[in-house]
Structure formats: structure tokens, C-alpha cells
């Protein structure tokens, strides 16, 4: 199974995401923001970082990268897509996911080990988890506060499209403690915390992020 990892100028966690893909049992394929094809990948990850320096708004310029029109098209046909942190922001700017990520409520960049609860384990990225399973993975961003209008929030909640929530005190002011969501079809997932930084206890707070990467292997094998 081949999972593409996209590098935009300013992407930082691309090598980490690729490492996690391999640890999860899949093959990784590097994709460049200017690429004109997706090199036959079965799924795509948009990793964290500061693509285009977060100029204008986080993810606002990346959505116009050539590779993004291919991602939008493939996502429309059901290809699994995971956006982590800045990748989540790009997915929102691309309208593959609703809502927006705004400045953390305390206005500081925040890097800490964060407990989250997986509340939807039916997406191709979350099947390795049990519903309600709690995991600890790094949260690290300056603009991680998930915001949307009341109608959208009701839709997300009503359709079970919130995939993960923060546990305990709200770290950044996200509505309904939302840490991650999925689209109506369930193949596109955006997640603020970083599962790729929790694939072993040596370099991360836990190995509990690995489930996102074993999930995608299972999803594609089926």
C-alpha cells in the first residue's frame, strides 16, 4: 500500500509522517507541492508545518498548490486523506472539511503531550482504535482552535463526524473540545494533534499515535 506525503515549501513534519507510515506497515511516496500527478498513491497525508510561512492565513496559499487540485479530485472519489495540524488547516481552506482553525485562546504557541479521545473509529484512519479510547499524543501549534458556525457544529455532531476530542481542560478554545473531524463521506480526516510524533516511547510521549497509520493499512487491504 502506498501512502503519499506532500511537502509544501515550509512543511516540517513530512519526514516524521513518512517514518510513521512505514512504522504502520505501508510504503511512503514523497509528493511535491508542484507535482502534476499523485504517483499512483492509495492515500495522502498533508503533514504539519508552516506551509508558505502561514502567510495570509494558515493553509490559505497551499490550497492553490498544483498538487491540491489533484488531492481534491481524488478525495471526491473516496481516496483517504489525512491532514495533520497545518494539513488540517489546508483541508479547511480547500473546503474538503468545514470550519477553520484560529489562534489558540491564550495566543501562545503550545507544545505539550495531550490526551484525546477517539470518538469515531469508522474512518479509514481510525479503525485501529476502540470507540472512546483515550490516547496521549503531542499537540503543537499556534492556531489550533477549531471554530465553525452553529449549523455546521450541529451537523458535525449530529452526523458523528467529530473523530477526536481533547480530554480535560480545553487547550486552545476549540468548540466542543474538537481535536479532529471528518467529511460527510468519512474519507477525509483533519486532526490538530500529531499522531506521527507518537509512534514509539523513545521519541514521543507514547506509541499510541501509531493506530492512525495501521488503520490506513487495514483500510486499504480490505
Amino acid at each position: 500500500m502506498r501512502v503519499g506525503v506532500i511537502t509544501f515549501p515550509g512543511t516540517l513534519d513530512d519526514r516524521d509522517a513518512a517514518r510513521a507510515v512505514v512504522a504502520g506497515g505501508s510504503e511512503t511516496v514523497s509528493l511535491w507541492h508542484a507535482d502534476a500527478d499523485l504517483k499512483g498513491v492509495d492515500a495522502v497525508i498533508l503533514p504539519g508545518g508552516f506551509s508558505y510561512g502561514d502567510y495570509l492565513r494558515c493553509g490559505a496559499i497551499s490550497r492553490f498548490a498544483p498538487v491540491m487540485s489533484l488531492v481534491i479530485e481524488a478525495a471526491g472519489k473516496g481516496m483517504p486523506v489525512l491532514g495533520i495540524c497545518n494539513g488540517f488547516q489546508v483541508l479547511c481552506e480547500s473546503h474538503l472539511l468545514p470550519g477553520a482553525l484560529t489562534r489558540n485562546s491564550d495566543l501562545h504557541f503550545l507544545c505539550r503531550d495531550q490526551e484525546i479521545e477517539i470518538v469515531n473509529n469508522t474512518t479509514p484512519w481510525t479503525t485501529s482504535y476502540k470507540p472512546g479510547e483515550k490516547i496521549v499524543i503531542p499537540l503543537k501549534n499556534g492556531e489550533g482552535s477549531f471554530q465553525c458556525d452553529d449549523t455546521t457544529l450541529a451537523e458535525l455532531e449530529g452526523e458523528g463526524r467529530v473523530i477526536a476530542r481533547y480530554v480535560g481542560q480545553n487547550p486552545n478554545g476549540s468548540r466542543n473540545l474538537i481535536a479532529g473531524i471528518t467529511n460527510a463521506r468519512g474519507n477525509v480526516v483533519g486532526l490538530m494533534p500529531h499522531p506521527e510524533h507518537a509512534i514509539d516511547e523513545l521519541t514521543g510521549p507514547s506509541a499510541q499515535g501509531l493506530g492512525f497509520f495501521t488503520s490506513i493499512l487495514n483500510a486499504m487491504v480490505k
Binding site: P9, G10, D16, F50, G53, C111, G142, H197, L202, T203
Partner: protein, 741 residues
């Protein structure tokens, strides 16, 4: 202003030139005229003024710094030594590691966010320039009193700047220091360390060889920011009034630097450059003269080709601008096409601005007219050298002859109050408010970061080879005795690495002092350098490079002498490191090293407003035996934690809170045992079955050993004094949020 060319300079020898405004002294100006055999053009004057500044030329420190070479221990590890952008050491398995600390003190006081941000940017480019991929940063910081209004302006800005720039570059921040003292109130210290890794064959140097090779400028366009930063800002004492000098602070764009890093690494990987230099302090003046001086000496540059953000800049301003995120490379004509292609891929602006020439003159033209024609060595490497007067300041005898007179706690309630006072003291309190603003996870190789004793990163995912780094300075001891203070800081940094199981290998430094024109400050500096050079020789650790920051003083008040020492060590298998704390109860806690009544320069004395007495003497032979003990014991230690500021009290606080597992401690002289800061001590946690093994090691290495107690429970209990972990944690963690929001 009309263009000042060589022809005009020759025909108008008596033109009055503003050398003093540019920071040059009259005799320095006279020497420039003597070198050139005429008055300098305004562009030449601009170049000499920035390159002969204290910051760039090390003119006051050079005569002392040469000791690092003269007293250098034999080392097989040193691949590139002092003088290049950063030193490089061999860490085995074909890997070379480069690391260095730089100061960005003065700009960070004026404009905290940009000053700190560009401090990170500058040191990262130094590391990149050696051919290495930057893999981590650290930030030793000093501020005025924690509750001073100006600290509330300076600290949040500096922390946000360090984080804002480093996070955006994708560099994990793996450690640093935050220390408060009133002498830093107008002079905060922002020291930034970067470490990078490469293969031996990839080392790059700053030299322009081969006539006909091209001089290529790439990265950001040149603007009007940071003009004269090194001369106007970093090489003068701040006056009480006067202009704010804000235009002399550089403005950074980390996104441009991130792209520049990736672009440069791709260029290096294809072996497309002969020599390379980043543009930092003194900008193009520095890069062109150092590249030419590092090679055979000849270079021609067409300054009008430099891409500008602000087209109104004059040639002098272009030469002095410290605009960030720029690099200058020497490229063979046959490779320029590929070089340009890679820059295009990364959308990096690139311009051929000149070529290497035969001969030994650096010639710079502006629209065809020659505005600079100098021997580059006189600009870059043969600047003025001062043997400044030095004299032991009067305070030394005065403070050394006094005894520390502080209340010593007795009884459970006083001991509890003392432990809590230290736990919540700004210098010892939990620094999460700072470190949560830094990304420590990016790149996925961070093994240890703050609050661990040292930062540790993995270099190789297959062999698990890693490096550990610690930076330390104890300015209180350096104030009482600068010679011993430097040695003690060196020993502490080395110990902080060894507790984790890494073997110390090499040293870098950032020497922060007041004005070198004050004989007392100059004496502090000379003594510190002597101490560090002697210490490195004794410990067998080569100094690979460093940085000097003078003029950290406001009016006549200088900062405490603050030599920040960084030690890098190697660990063969990061999976086998010893962490700084334990996760279970039932373990034995033992203290390695003897505790004497060392309260002079201690945090306890500081909290009682006392900076008197005699600093401890560094016993480096014993420190080296302790390091060997730690490296051997690493195989069976559960945890090991260095004792430094705050002594045993702070050490225990940090250990029990790390994983929220308490300890029961029994001390025969609790006040001195808890508060003394005798150097060379480490707390070790081990399984009860390993105690005899540790005792045997202590005997083998002649290190004192004593039993402290056992781990477990939800309190820190010292004799009959019980402190719940909840209370201890609340005190330890509430200080920074209370002070800084």
C-alpha cells in the same frame, strides 16, 4: 549623496569622514588610511567599520582567546576548529557534528521578538554553512528581576521570538536556561545554540578559490534592516537616554530561512559549491571579505547586481545591511546552471554578483565605477588587536573576605518553608510556561529536552547513535571568582551530559561580559578565559569555537560575568540513556559526591540578597572520575540527576515531580545538606539489588557516596518534614504563570 569612488578618494584626501559615527576610533581610521595609502571611500569606510567592530573582529578578546589554541588538548575528534563559522567534531560512524552558541543580546533588548528570532536564524545559518543539516536548538537566557516591569516586556517577546522562528524552521528546542538577576535588567542575554549533523565528506568552508569561479548571492533580497547592527548596537554600551536604535535591529522571516535551508542542503548534496558563507553580522562586507580572505584573496563584485527590497539603498548601506536569510556561495561556472535550477525549484532569489580573480584585492564596483579596492585580509582577519588594561576590581577582595550570613532552617516547618521557597523561586521554578512555546518533537529524533539535565537527539535511526548537549553558567560563582566560575560551569555542563550516559567530547562557549574598556570587566573576562582554557585542557575537551559579547552594561553597571559553556557528548545507543527521574516506588536514592557548606553564590544566598564569600574550587580530576563512574553505571542506573543551582532541595523537587512519585529522605544535617551547592554531586536512583554494585564503583573511582532514602508515596518527606507532591507542584508550577500570564 554623490557616489564616492576610488578616483574621487584619491583626489580628495582631505574630505572629512564620519568614522566616529560608524564606531571607529581615530587611530583605527588612521590605520585604514595607512593600509590603503589614501583615504577610504565611503563604502570602504563602511566595510572596515563593521568588520573592525568588537563583535566581528574580537579586537579586545583575541589576545586572550588564543589560549584555547595554545592550551588545546590532543583530540582526534576535532575536524574543524576555531575560526570557521562553527567547529566540527567526529562522532563516529562517519558522522560529523557541528555546534555553536551565539549571542543576540543587544537587539533583543531593543526589539525582543525580532532580536531573539534573528538570533536563532543567525546561528542556524552558521551551522548550515558548514554543510550540515541543523537538527536542534537551545536557548540560554538571562533577564532582569522576574517581577520587574521591563522583564514583563522583554521575556515574553524573547520567548515568542525564539519559538516563532525555531518552530517555523522545524528545529526542536531541546534545552536552555532562564535565569534572573538585577544586573541583566537593561541587558538581557539571548544566547542561541544550534547543532547540525553531516557526513565527514560534506564539510564546507568559507573560502573563495579558483580564479573565474562565480560569486553567487542567494536567499532574501537586501533591505535596509540591521544596518550597522554589529557596530552601532553590539559594540557599544547603552546610554541611559538617546535614540532607540531600532532600525539597527534585523527583521527575520523564518519561512524564507526554512526554504533556504532545504535549498542549500540540496545544493550541497550535489556538491555544487567550492566555498560558502552566510550573511549575518556585517552582511555582505563580512561575506565577501571573509570568502576572499579565506581563499587566495582576489574577488570582483558588482554591487549594483544585488537584488534589493528597497531600491533607494546606497552602496554603503547595501554593504552594511544585515538583512536576514541570505547566503553567498562560490560556484564553478560548469555547475552554475544546476545551482540556478535548484534555487528555482525552491523559489529562491539567486544572482551571480561577481567572480574570484587572480591577485589579492577585493574590488567592488557600482555601475562600473570602482568603489572598493582593498586587501581582504585587512578587512576580515587583520583587524586591530587591543591588549586592553585589566585590573582585579576592588569588589573581589571585599566580597571574598565576607562570609555568607543567611538564616538556616531547623525543624520540620522551617525546612518545608525553605524547600518550597526554592521550588517556587523564579530561577528554579518550573519553566513549562517557556518551553511549551517551543516545538520539541519536530524531526522525530528528540530523546531528551527541557527539563532533562541535557538535550539529546538521535543521529541514526538504525544504529541509535546520538548526541547530548548541555549549556551552563553560574554567574554568581563567576562574580566571586571568574577563574573558578568558568571551570565550574564547564564541569557542570559535562556532568549534565554524563548523567544521561553520554561521553563529553567538545566545548563551545558564549562569553557575555560588560564593557572591555573597564579594566575590572576585562580582568573578569581574562580570568574566565584562562579558567575555561585550563579546564578544557585538564578535562581533555577541545574548544571548537565560540562567541564573545561585550558591552553588556548600562552606564557603569555591567552584567555579572556570564560565560555560558556548552558541552557536546556522544552516546552510542540512545535507547540505553539514563533519564533524570524514576517512575516507580521502592528504589534506593543515593548521593554521589560530598556535601560541604558551600553557600557562597548559592540560590539560597541569592534569595537572601547575598553575593559574598568564596566560590567553591573546581576539582576537575574528581569531576572526571565522577563522569567515568556515571558512564559505567549507566548500565544499571534507573535515573541520575545532576545537582546544581538550588542544591539537593531543588534536585529532589525536580525528581519527585517529574513522574509524580515521591521519596522519603533522611538527612543528618538537613539545612546544609539541602541548601549547599557543592559542585560534583549527582542523585542516583537504583534498584535495591544494585546498591553494592554502585558502592563498588564509588570505591573504584574514589567518589563519596551516601544513602539519601527511598522512592515512593505521594509526598517528599525529609526527616520529619512532609510536603505533599500536590503542594510542591502547585508552588513549583505557579511562579511563571503568575508573573507572565
Amino acid at each position: 549623496m554623490a557616489l564616492d569612488t576610488i578616483l574621487i578618494a584619491e583626489s580628495t584626501p582631505d574630505t572629512v569622514q564620519p568614522f566616529a559615527e560608524l564606531g571607529l576610533k581615530a587611530d583605527e581610521y588612521a590605520r585604514i588610511k595607512e593600509i590603503l595609502g589614501r583615504r577610504p571611500t565611503s563604502s570602504e569606510l563602511a566595510m572596515y567599520s563593521v568588520m573592525w567592530s568588537e563583535h566581528c573582529s574580537y579586537k579586545s578578546s583575541k589576545v586572550h582567546l588564543k589560549q584555547f589554541g595554545e592550551k588545546a588538548p590532543k583530540s582526534d575528534a576535532l575536524l574543524v576548529g576555531i575560526g570557521e563559522n562553527a567547529g566540527v567534531v567526529d562522532v563516529g560512524q562517519g558522522y560529523a557534528v557541528t555546534f555553536k552558541i551565539e549571542s543576540h543580546n543587544h537587539p533583543s533588548f531593543i526589539e525582543p521578538y525580532q532580536g531573539a528570532a534573528t538570533g536563532i536564524g543567525g546561528i542556524v545559518r552558521d551551522i548550515l554553512t558548514m554543510g550540515a543539516r541543523p537538527i536542534a536548538v537551545m536557548d540560554p537566557l538571562r533577564f532582569g528581576p522576574a517581577d520587574a516591569p521591563d522583564t514583563r516586556r522583554v521575556l515574553p517577546g524573547i520567548v515568542a521570538g525564539v519559538g516563532g522562528y525555531g518552530n517555523c524552521l522545524g528545529l526542536p528546542n531541546i534545552g536552555g536556561e532562564v535565569v534572573f538577576d538585577e544586573t541583566y535588567i537593561g541587558n538581557p542575554l539571548v544566547n542561541a545554540l544550534c547543532v547540525g549533523v553531516m557526513k565527514h565528506s560534506d564539510i564546507k568552508l568559507a573560502k573563495a578559490a579558483g580564479a573565474g569561479n562565480l560569486v553567487v548571492l542567494y536567499g532574501a533580497k537586501t533591505g535596509g534592516d540591521g544596518i550597522g547592527g554589529v557596530s552601532v548596537l553590539a559594540s557599544e554600551t547603552f546610554g541611559a537616554g538617546g535614540s532607540t536604535k531600532r532600525p539597527s535591529v534585523q527583521v527575520g522571516d523564518p519561512f524564507v530561512e526554512k526554504v533556504l535551508i532545504e535549498c542549500s542542503l540540496e545544493i550541497f548534496a550535489e556538491d555544487l559549491v567550492i566555498g560558502i558563507q552566510d550573511l549575518g553580522g556585517a552582511g555582505l562586507s563580512c561575506a565577501t571579505s571573509e570568502l576572499a580572505s579565506g581563499g587566495s584573496g582576489g574577488m570582483k563584485v558588482a554591487l549594483d547586481k544585488v537584488p534589493l527590497r528597497d531600491p533607494s539603498l546606497s552602496p554603503e548601506e547595501i554593504l552594511m545591511s544585515e538583512s536576514q536569510e541570505r547566503m553567498c556561495a562560490i560556484v564553478e561556472p560548469s555547475k552554475i546552471e544546476r545551482f540556478l535550477e535548484i534555487c528555482k525549484k525552491w523559489d529562491v532569489t539567486v544572482t551571480v554578483i561577481g567572480e574570484v580573480t587572480d591577485g589579492n584585492r577585493l574590488e567592488i564596483t557600482w555601475n562600473g565605477e570602482v568603489i572598493v579596492n582593498v586587501p581582504p585580509r585587512t578587512v576580515a582577519h587583520e583587524g586591530p588587536v587591543y591588549n586592553r588594561p585589566l585590573a582585579q576590581p576592588a569588589y573581589i577582595d571585599q566580597v571574598n573576605s565576607q562570609k555568607v550570613n543567611v538564616p538556616m532552617p531547623s525543624g520540620a516547618s522551617e525546612i518545608k518553608a525553605a524547600v518550597l521557597k526554592l521550588a517556587g523561586a523564579p530561577n528554579l521554578a518550573d519553566k513549562s510556561w517557556v518551553t511549551t512555546q517551543y516545538d520539541k518533537y519536530v524531526q522525530g529524533n528528540t530523546i531528551q529536552a527541557q527539563p532533562d539535565d541535557s538535550g539529546m537527539v538521535r543521529l541514526d535511526e538504525t544504529t541509535h547513535l546520538g548526541v547530548a548537549i548541555s549549556t551552563d553558567a553560574n554567574a554568581n560563582w563567576s562574580y566571586l571568582n571568574p577563574y573558578q566560575g568558568a571551570k565550574l560551569a564547564l564541569a557542570e555542563a559535562a556532568r549534565n551530559i554524563a548523567t544521561a550516559g553520554a561521553r563529553p567530547l567538545a566545548v563551545t562557549n558564549c562569553l557575555n561580559f560588560g564593557s572591555p574598556e573597564d579594566p575590572g570587566v576585562m580582568w573578569q573576562f581574562a580570568e574566565s578565559v584562562r579558567g575555561l582554557a585550563d579546564g578544557c585542557l585538564e578535562m581533555g575537551l577541545p574548544v571548537t569555537g565560540g562567541n564573545v559579547s561585550f558591552y553588556n552594561q548600562t552606564g557603569s553597571v555591567a552584567i555579572l560575568p556570564t560565560p555560558v559553556i556548552g558541552v557536546l557528548g556522544v552516546i552510542q545507543d540512545v535507547r540505553k540513556r539514563t533519564p533524570m527521574s524514576y517512575k516507580t516506588g521502592g528504589l534506593e536514592l543515593l548521593l554521589l559526591g560530598e556535601t560541604k557548606e558551600d553557600l557562597a553564590g548559592s540560590e539560597w544566598a541569592f534569595l537572601h540578597g547575598q553575593r559574598v564569600g568564596q566560590s567553591p574550587d573546581a576539582d576537575l580530576a574528581r569531576e572526571m572520575r565522577l563522569i567515568e563512574l556515571l558512564l559505567e553505571g549507566n548500565a544499571f542506573f534507573t535515573a541520575a540527576h545532576d545537582l546544581s543551582q538550588g542544591g539537593l532541595s531543588a534536585g529532589l523537587t525536580e525528581m519527585v515531580l517529574r513522574h509524580n512519585v515521591g521519596a522519603t529522605i533522611s538527612l543528618s544535617h538537613p539545612a546544609v545538606d539541602l541548601l549547599s551547592e557543592t559542585p560534583g554531586r549527582v542523585i542516583v536512583a537504583i534498584d535495591a539489588s544494585k546498591v553494592s554494585q554502585l558502592q563498588a564503583l564509588a570505591t573504584k573511582y574514589s567518589i563519596a557516596i551516601s544513602k539519601l532514602g527511598t522512592t515512593g508515596g505521594d509526598s517528599l518527606t525529609i526527616n520529619d518534614c512532609l510536603i505533599s507532591l500536590d503542594e510542591l507542584r502547585t508552588v513549583h508550577t505557579s511562579t511563571f504563570p503568575r508573573l507572565f500570564g
